[in-house]
C-alpha cells in the first residue's frame, strides 16, 4: 500500500463517521415509549376511545390536528364528524386536552423520543402550567 499513513488516516475518519451511531449509543438501546393514558378524565370514560381509532391517531394525529386548526380558525367550522358519524367539537384545548391533560406523560414522551418539536405550544398553553 502506498501513502499508507494518509490512506489509513482517511479510512479511520470514514469509520468514525459511519460508526458514529454505534459509538454514540454504546450498546444501550432506548425502548419505545408508552404514552400514559392515566388521567382522571380518561378513567371516568366508560368506552376508552379517542376521536378516531388508535392506529390512525398514532400515525396521523399531526395532520389531523393541522386540519382541525385550519377548519376552526380559517373556515370557522367547529364541528367534526368522525368515521362513526359522531359529532366532535373542534378544539385542542377543550376536546383533546380535556382527556389528555398530562402533556408531560402523553405528548412529550413520544415527541422527545423522536426529536419532534411541534409548534402547538407557541399559541396554546399546557393545562398544567405554562411552558415558561
Amino acid at each position: 500500500m502506498y501513502d499508507r499513513g494518509k490512506v489509513i488516516a482517511g479510512l479511520v475518519i470514514f469509520a468514525i463517521i459511519f460508526l458514529f451511531p454505534f459509538i454514540y449509543n454504546h450498546g444501550s438501546a432506548s425502548p419505545q415509549p408508552k404514552p400514559s393514558l392515566d388521567t382522571p378524565a380518561i378513567k371516568a370514560l366508560s368506552q376508552k376511545k379517542c376521536v378516531e381509532d388508535k392506529q390512525f391517531m398514532i400515525t396521523t394525529h399531526m395532520q389531523f390536528l393541522n386540519d382541525w386548526r385550519d377548519q376552526a380558525l380559517r373556515d370557522g367550522n367547529r364541528w367534526y364528524v368522525n368515521k362513526e358519524g359522531k359529532k366532535v367539537w373542534i378544539s385542542l384545548q377543550n376536546t383533546c386536552l380535556k382527556c389528555h391533560s398530562n402533556k408531560k406523560e402523553f405528548c412529550d414522551k413520544c415527541h422527545n423520543y423522536a426529536a419532534v418539536d411541534p409548534y402547538c405550544w407557541d399559541c396554546h398553553i399546557d393545562p398544567n402550567g405554562s411552558k415558561l
Binding site: F14, N25, S30, M62, A115
Partner: protein, 332 residues
C-alpha cells in the same frame, strides 16, 4: 439499447419495491428483512468501502499526473495559478477542498456549439448546480436520519432538522432538502434521458443509482406525508440496530419496508459501483498530487536497482581468453 440501459435498471428498482411491499405485508418476515438486511447491507458497505480504498492504495503512482487547469509554476514573470495547478501541499489541500466541497471540476463544464459557422465555447452550470444541490441535500438528509438511530438526539441534528423545516409548511413540516433533492435527482435523470450526447454514453450503471435514489426519496416522502407509520416504532427499530439490541416493533406499515429495501440495495451496491466516487475523489491522482513533475525527483516505486557489471568483473570472467588472444590486461 434502451431496454438494456434504461428499462432493465428501472425494472430492478421496481422489483425491489414489490419485494418490500410483499415483505411488509407478512409480519413474520419483518424482523429478518428489516434487522437482518440492514446489518448485512451495512457490513457490505463498510467492509466493501475499505477493501476498495485499500485496493486502490495498492496501485503505484510512479509520477505526478495532475490534470492542469491553469499555468504551472515556472518563471517569476509568468502568472502562476496556485490553486488550479498547485506545486505545494497547501495548494493541493485548497484544490481538494474546492473539488470535494464545491465540485470545481463540474463548475468548469463547457458546452461547444456551432453558431453561424463559428465554433463557440460557452460555460454551462446546470450540471454543477444540480449536482451540488443533490449532494448537499443527500448529506443533510442522512444527518437528519440520525434522530432515528441515536438517543439522546444530539443538538446539531435537532438544529439541522429545525433549519431544514423552517418554513413550517404543513405538519409534519416539509423539509427544504426533500424538495431540493427531488428536483435535482429528477433534473439529473432528465439530463441523461433527453440530452442525446449524454444518453449515448449513459449505461445501466448510470441509470440504476438514479432510479434507486429517486425511489428512496419518493418512498420516504410517501411515508412522511401519505402512508403514515408509527415513528416511535421506527425509531425503536433503528435505535435497536444501532445499539446491537435489535427489536422488531409491531405495526410498521409496508411503505417502511419499501424504503428500507431500497436503501439497503443502495448501500450494498455502493462499493461495487460508480458511487464509490465518494472515496475515490480523495484518491484521484489527477487532483491530489502537486504538480512538481520537473521540480522534484520522482522515483518509480517498483524500480529495482540495476545490476552493474564492472570492467574488473568482465576481465575476471574472460581473463584466460584475453590472455590467449594477447589483449592488454589491467591485472595479470
Amino acid at each position: 439499447m434502451i431496454a438494456q440501459r434504461i428499462i432493465f435498471p428501472l425494472g430492478v428498482v421496481l422489483a425491489i419495491v414489490v419485494l418490500g411491499l410483499i415483505v411488509g405485508s407478512i409480519p413474520a418476515l419483518h424482523g429478518l428483512f428489516s434487522v437482518g438486511l440492514i446489518y448485512v447491507a451495512f457490513a457490505v458497505f463498510f467492509f466493501g468501502f475499505i477493501a476498495k480504498v485499500v485496493n486502490w492504495a495498492k496501485s503505484p503512482v510512479p509520477f505526478r499526473i495532475p490534470t492542469t487547469a491553469g499555468q504551472e509554476f515556472s518563471l517569476p514573470w509568468i502568472k502562476w495559478s496556485k490553486i488550479d495547478n498547485p506545486s505545494t501541499t497547501g495548494g493541493v489541500i485548497l484544490r481538494m477542498f474546492f473539488e470535494v466541497c464545491l465540485f470545481r471540476s463540474l463548475f468548469r463544464n463547457m458546452r461547444t456549439d456551432l453558431r453561424s459557422g463559428w465554433l463557440i465555447h460557452s460555460p454551462t452550470k446546470w450540471l454543477w448546480l444540480l449536482a451540488l444541490g443533490f449532494h448537499y441535500s443527500f448529506l443533510i438528509i442522512a444527518i437528519r436520519h440520525l434522530r432515528l438511530f441515536v438517543q439522546p438526539v444530539p443538538g446539531f441534528v435537532e438544529l439541522l432538522d429545525k433549519v431544514d423545516g423552517m418554513f413550517q409548511i404543513g405538519i409534519p413540516p416539509i423539509y427544504l432538502t426533500d424538495i431540493l433533492i427531488l428536483l435535482c435527482v429528477t433534473g439529473l435523470l432528465l439530463r441523461r434521458l433527453f440530452l442525446p450526447k449524454v444518453r449515448f454514453i449513459s449505461l445501466a450503471a448510470d441509470y440504476f443509482p438514479l432510479f434507486l435514489i429517486l425511489g428512496i426519496v419518493i418512498s420516504g416522502l410517501l411515508m412522511r406525508f401519505v402512508f403514515r407509520v408509527d415513528i416511535t416504532a421506527v425509531k425503536a427499530l433503528a435505535n435497536g440496530i444501532a445499539s446491537f439490541h435489535p427489536v422488531v416493533p409491531e405495526g410498521i406499515g409496508a411503505i417502511f419496508f419499501v424504503h428500507v429495501a431500497l436503501v439497503c440495495a443502495l448501500i450494498a451496491y455502493f462499493p461495487f459501483s460508480k458511487l464509490m466516487h465518494m472515496g475515490g475523489i480523495f484518491m484521484s491522482p489527477t487532483r491530489n498530487l502537486a504538480n512538481t513533475t520537473r521540480m522534484a525527483y520522482h522515483e518509480n516505486p517498483w524500480r529495482k536497482p540495476p545490476k552493474f557489471h564492472s570492467y574488473e568483473e568482465y576481465e575476471d570472467m574472460y581473463r584466460d581468453y584475453m590472455k590467449e588472444a594477447g589483449l592488454p590486461l589491467e591485472r595479470e
